[in-house]
Symmetry: D2
Subunit: 325 residues, 4 copies
C-alpha cells in the first residue's frame, strides 16, 4: 500500500548517473539543509567544493576520461532507466551544472506563472535560465547580451532579446513590454566579468550588470545572481577589483525593496525534478543551449571557440558513447 519508489536501489557498476559539479559530503549541517554548494567538509579552505575550480577543494576537474566521485551514494543521481536516459542523454548531461544553475537563478529571482523576466547574459547559463523561466511558467522572457549569435540562439526558442550595445535595457524593455521598462524578476548570468551591459560598453565593469538589473527590475522584485563574483581578482586593474569590491548602486535596489540571492547553485536541490522534466519531454535544454558533442581531444578547441563567443555549449564525450543527434 505504501511504496518505496524506484530510486532506493544501491548504486551498481554500469549505472548511468549525473554527478553535480558541487562536491558535497552529505553529513554536515549545510548538506543536511540542502546547501550542497557550501558543504563544510570537502574543502579545507572554505565552505564549498567543486570539480576543477581554483580554491574549491582541489578536486580535479571532470574534463577527463574518468573522475573520482567522493560520497558517491550521496552525490550521484541515478537515471531510473538506462535506455530511456540514453535517448535524452544530451539533455541529461546539462543536469550536472548549467541547467540547475540557470534554474536556481530563476527560482531565487521569484520566477513563476506569468512573470516577466530579464536575464542578463546569453551564454549557456543565461540560455539555461531562459529555458528554466519558460518551464516555470514565465509570460515573457527577455535575454540581454551583446553577442549577436547568442541572441539569435535565444530567439530560436521564444525569448525576446536586447542587444545591450544598442542602448539602455530599460528603454528596450519598454518596447517589448508595451511601455513597461521593468520586469518582475532579474537574473544575473554574467557575473563580475561583465563588459559594458548598458551604456558602459568597452572596459570590464564588474558591477554593471547588477546595477542594470536594479534599474530594470520592478519595486518588490527579486534578483537571482548565479553569475560568478570573486572574493578578489588579482589580475584586476583597480585596487577595488583586486579586493573584489564593486561599486554597486545599492540605494536604488533598497528604494525598490529588492532582494538578492547569490552563490553557486546547490545542484542536488533541483537535479531530480529537472531530470523528470527532461525524461517526460517537457523541456529541450540541449537544443536551447545548442549542445554540441565533441571528443576529449577537441576540448582545447572547444574552450577557444567558447571564449570567442561561439553560441555553443560543448559536451565532452571521452568514450564516444553519445549517439548522433
Amino acid at each position: 500500500m505504501v511504496e518505496k519508489g524506484r530510486d532506493v536501489e544501491t548504486l551498481t557498476v554500469g549505472d548511468l548517473v549525473s554527478i553535480p559539479f558541487n562536491v558535497a559530503c552529505g553529513r554536515c549541517r549545510n548538506c543536511k539543509e540542502g546547501k550542497t554548494g557550501i558543504c563544510l567538509r570537502v574543502n579545507p579552505e572554505r565552505p564549498g567544493g567543486a570539480y576543477g575550480y581554483v580554491d574549491m577543494g582541489g578536486w580535479p576537474g571532470g574534463q577527463a576520461e574518468y573522475v573520482m566521485v567522493p560520497y558517491a551514494d550521496w552525490n550521484a543521481l541515478r537515471f531510473p532507466d538506462k535506455d530511456e536516459a540514453m535517448a535524452r542523454i544530451r539533455d541529461l548531461t546539462m543536469l550536472s551544472d548549467i541547467f540547475p544553475t540557470g534554474y536556481h537563478g530563476c527560482v531565487t529571482a521569484g520566477v513563476t506563472t506569468g512573470s516577466t523576466v530579464y536575464i542578463a547574459g546569453a551564454g549557456p547559463v543565461g540560455l539555461a535560465a531562459a529555458t528554466s523561466a519558460f518551464l516555470l511558467g514565465a509570460a515573457v522572457v527577455v535575454v540581454g547580451d551583446n553577442n549577436k549569435d547568442r541572441l539569435e540562439q535565444a530567439r530560436s526558442f521564444g525569448c525576446e532579446t536586447i542587444d545591450v550595445s544598442n542602448g539602455e535595457p530599460r528603454d528596450q524593455l519598454a518596447h517589448i513590454l508595451r511601455g513597461e521598462p521593468e520586469v518582475d524578476c532579474g537574473v544575473d548570468c554574467v557575473g563580475f566579468e561583465a563588459h559594458g551591459h548598458g551604456t558602459h560598453a568597452g572596459d570590464e565593469e564588474p558591477a554593471t550588470v547588477l546595477n542594470s538589473l536594479m534599474e530594470t527590475t520592478r519595486a518588490g522584485g527579486a534578483l537571482g545572481v548565479p553569475g560568478l563574483y570573486v572574493t578578489g581578482d588579482p589580475g584586476a586593474h583597480t585596487r577595488a577589483a583586486k579586493q573584489g569590491s564593486l561599486s554597486i548602486r545599492l540605494g536604488l535596489g533598497w528604494a525598490k525593496s529588492h532582494s538578492f540571492a547569490t552563490g553557486q547553485c546547490p545542484v542536488m536541490r533541483y537535479n531530480r525534478q529537472l531530470m523528470s522534466a527532461i525524461l517526460s519531454g517537457r523541456t529541450s535544454i540541449a537544443r536551447n543551449v545548442n549542445a554540441t558533442v565533441i571528443p576529449l581531444n577537441k576540448a582545447p578547441k572547444g574552450y577557444t571557440d567558447f571564449d570567442h563567443g561561439m553560441a555553443k555549449k560543448f559536451v565532452l564525450d571521452p568514450h564516444g558513447l553519445i549517439p548522433a543527434a
Copy 2:
C-alpha cells in the same frame, strides 16, 4: 527611474475587468493576509462570501445581465489593454473561477517542475487543474474520471487518463508510470459528490476520492482539495453525511506524512499572474476545458447538459460581446 506600473489607474466606465467569484472586503485580517475566500466582513453567517452560493452572504449570482460588485476597486482585475483582452476573452473569462481554482489545487498539492500529478475529476475544475499542472512544469499529468467524454477532453491536451470504473487507480497508475503506483501530488477536483472512484462505483461515496488519493499519493506528498465538501448535506441518506462527516482513512495519510489543503480558492492570489500567462499565449485554458459561449437564455439548457456530464464549460454572454472563436 522607478515606475508606477500600468495597473494603478482608477477603474473607469468601459474598463474590461475580471471579477473573482469570491466577494471580499479588502480590509479585514483575512483579506490582508490574502485569504479572500474567507473574508470576515461580507457574510454575516460565517467567513467567506461568493456570488450565487447558498450560505455565502446572499450575493446574487453572476448569471445575469449585470452584477453588483461590492468593493470593486479591491475585487476587480482590470485588463491592461481592451483590444488585447478581447482577442483572448474566452480564456480570460476563466479567471473568475475555475482556472484559479484548479491552479490553487495544484499549488497546494505542491506541483512544480518535474512533478507527477494525479487529478481526480475531469470536469471543468479538473481540466483547469490539469492545465495548471502543465503550466507549473509537471512531468506527467494523470486525470481520473468515469466520464469517457471528459477523459477524451483531458487526453486532447496531453494528459494521461484513468477510467476509474475500470479498477483501482493505483494499478492503472503503475501502467502509466512504469511500475510506480503513486504520484508526487494529488488534487481532489470532485469533492463530496463522488460516485465510486475506485472500487466502489455506484452510490455516492463522499470520502472515496480522498481515500483513493491517499492511496495514490507518495509518502511525503501533498493533497490539494479544491473540490467542495459541505458542512452538512440535509438531503443525504446517512446521518453521517447529514452532518458532513466522512469516513476517512486518515491513518493511511498519516503514515505517509501527507498534508491536506482545503477550502475555496482565494482567486485574487492567482488571477493576475494567470492573466499574464493567458495574454502572453502560454496557456489555452478555454480550449482545454472546451469553453462554449451561449446567450443567457440558453443557460438553463447549458446547466442541464452540464449535469448530464457533457464535456463543456459553458460561458454566458448576455450581451453577445464575445466574438466567434
Copy 3:
C-alpha cells in the same frame, strides 16, 4: 575569512550525541528533501523507520544499555562541548523525540509571533508542543486534557488550560480569549486514542480531537497533527476503526479553508536548532514536561505510571550518568 564551523569533525568514541527516533539512510530522495521520518531505505515494509515501533523496520527500541545506530554519521547530532552538554543533559535528552515532535506540530500549525494556540493533549508531546509554542512567540497557549495533574503541569509554565471533561472547548476558549471561541493554530497531540475530548467523554472516539480542533481553529488557520493515527487498529471495536477509518467532519474544516499536516516528525529538521535553544538557556523543556530520571530496571514501573496518567516524562539512564538535578 570563511569558516568551517565546529560541527564538521568526524564522530569519535566518547562523543556525546543525540540520536533521533527516526532511522534514516541520508541518501534516498526523502532524506535529501529533509523528510527523514519517511526514509525509503530503512524499512522494507513502507517508508519510515523508527526504533522500537511495530511496522517501522524492525529496529530494536532504545530502552536498552546500548543501541545500534545505522548511518550514524548522518543520524547523530554531536553536542559541541561535552561539559556544556552534561550541564543541560536532562533537556538534551528530549531532542530525540518529544521536543522536535511538539515543535513540528506547532510549526506545521503555523505558530508564530503573536499566535493563539490550542494544543489538544497534555501528555509529554502536548507539553513539548506548548513549550515550543512559547519558543515560537505565541501570545496565548491553551492546553486541553481531562487529566488534572497534567493540566496543572501545563499551568506551571504559563499555559492556560481547558478541562475537556467540563464541556465544549469552544465555550471554554471564549472565556480565556475574551469572547473569541477560536484560536489561530490547532495542534493534535492526542491522536486516535482519544477518549472524549469535548462532549463525548468515555469511549474511545478516534476522530473526536480532530473534529474538536476544526471547531476551535479559526477560518484560515492550520492544524498540526503529530498525534499518531494508525492505518488500522486490529483491536478496535468497530469495523471502521479496524480499517483506520475515522468519521471526520471534513466539511467543517473545508468551509474554514483549514490545512492539515500529518505524520511522524522528521527530527533532524529541528534538533540542531532546538539544541542551540537549550544550550543557550532559552527553554526549559525538561522542567516543563517534568522529566524524571530512572534507572533501566525501573522502566517497567515507569511505563505503568505513565499509562496511569502520571504527569511525568521518564528518562532512562542505564549507566547512571545523569547527575541529580
Copy 4:
C-alpha cells in the same frame, strides 16, 4: 460555528489605533501582495509613501497634534480593547515603525529558534531588532555599535555586545561564541550613515556595515537590511556616494551564498501579530528601547538629544494622554 472575529467592526470615532509609517492604498498590486512599503498609488514619484520623508509622496509627518490618514480603513490597526491597550500604550506606540522594522530585519535574515544573530547598530531600530530576535527564539543576540550607552541598553535585556571601536567584530564574536567568528543571521540597522564599524572608525563609510556583516555571517546565512540606503546623497563627499554607489565586497557574500533583503518594512505584514505579542505580555519593546514620553514642544530637544546619541527612543504625546509609567 464559524466566527467573524472581533476585528471586523468598522472604525469609529474614539477608536484607538496604530498607523503604520508607510502610506498605502490597499488596492494596487503591491498592496495586494503585502508589499505596503512600495505602494504604487500614494506617491507620484516612485513606489512607496511615508509620513514626513523627503521623496515619499509629500505626506506631512506624524510629529503633530493630528495627522490625516488616507485609506484609513486599510491602514489603521484597531486595538481590540481600549483599556487593555492604554495599559500597554508605550509598547503599542512602537508598532508604527521601529518594532516592525526591527522584526522585518530579523525575519528576512532568517532568525528563528536557536539562531545566532549579529545586529549592527544599537539605535532604536537595532534594539527593536534585538527584541525581535529574542521573540523569534534566537539563542544568542549580539549587538554592535560604538556608543557605550546604547550598548549598555542592549545588555540590559540580555544581548551580548561588541564595541566596534575596539577591533574587528569577527574577533570579538569568536570570544562570545566560543571560537565561532560567524553568526547564522546578520541584520544591518545602521545603513549608509555608518561611521567605521570595524577597522575604519572615523569617516562616514557607507558600505562598512554591509562588508562587515558579510564577514561575520556564516556561509548559507542571510542578511536583513532594514537600515536606510539612499539612491543618492547630494551632500556626500565622493562622487560615488552622491550617486548612491557603495564599494561592496560582493564577491565575499557570493562565495558564502548569502542572500540580502532590503527596503522599508511593510509594517502591515507584522503589526497585528506584534500587537498580539505585546498585549499578552510576551515582549517589552518600550523598556528595551528606553521609550521616553515627551510633549510635542519638547520634540526639538528630543531630536537633538537623539542626534547626540542618547540611548532613548522619544515618544511624542501631544495631548498628554499617556499615563506615567
